[in-house]
Amino acid sequence: MTVETTDPPRIDPRGPRVGAGITALLLAVVVLIGPTTPALVLLTVVALSFVPGAVRGPQATWQGWLFRTLVRPRLAPPPELEDVRPPRFAQTVGLVVTGTGVVAGWAGALAVVPWAAGLAFVAAALNATVGLCLGCELYLLGRRLRPSAR
């Protein structure tokens, strides 16, 4: 984890939601392809896309780049900017869920691939449509699962 020496960056809150919509579409394709190697390859691409998002934030992903170059120029400026930490947490959750499917898939358990893609699809689609905040729902649960943090 990086140490925050200054205030964390602030981003357009619509960027992560557009990015989640793009990701949800890709994950739906993974579900449709089913437990096959092409599905595993596509899920691997999605999982790798979460890596810069989990490290720096969703603005660092290619989905964030698409939002900035194609979508944001067509929109009015946002009413306010958002702290990058909540959407970065959501990217980390996405990385863990899809990463589990990727590791299992390359280890030979292709059946796990659509399951991981389906779970990540629900989370991404909820983020895109109603702005589900994974950090709000899961952070305390995660703390509870780490006894040392109590």
Partner: protein
């Protein structure tokens, strides 16, 4: 391929149900049944004072927040604005990482969770999720306007 389309359709239904459920639950005020008032639900005034926070003479919004919670920021602004315009109402915010003991005591599982405390420091209602100004007013309306009679010692 038909099976996969069925799976995707099921996922879409699950997502739609979750979306509607989650959105309608955001900031919904749940009153605390008098029978459910136990030791953990009372005596918050002493706790707040011990932390250097100021309980309201009429009501206190005790908000538990996390760094990774975007809805906590908007909820804090909404409750802060209401507290500023309503006499005797204060809003205090606690970070769950700094006070895991309060998370335990309040039995909080999600952020933001707002405990609505009456003048005696007893929890009368709570709400989880982002709060709109209307929901904040609903929360304040759960507090009896007169000082509570028969407050616990």
């Amino acid at each position: 391929m038909t099976a996969q389309w069925t799976v995707l359709a099921a996922l879409l239904v699950v997502t739609a149900v979750l979306a509607l459920t989650w959105r309608s639950a955001q900031g919904r005020v749940r009153t605390t049944a008098p029978g459910a008032v136990d030791a953990a639900a009372t005596g918050w005034t002493d706790e707040l004072v011990a932390q250097g926070m100021t309980p309201g003479a009429r009501a206190t919004f005790l908000q538990l927040s996390a760094e990774v919670c975007s809805a906590c920021r908007s909820t804090a602004r909404t409750l802060g604005a209401l507290a500023a315009e309503e006499p005797g109402v204060t809003h205090v915010e606690v970070d769950v990482d700094h006070r895991p003991d309060l998370v335990e005591r309040a039995r909080v599982h999600r952020t933001p969770t707002v405990l609505v405390l009456d003048a005696a420091g007893t929890e009368v209602a709570r709400a989880s999720g982002g709060m709109t100004p209307a929901r904040a007013r609903d929360a304040l309306a759960t507090v009896p306007s007169a000082p509570v009679a028969g407050r616990t010692a």
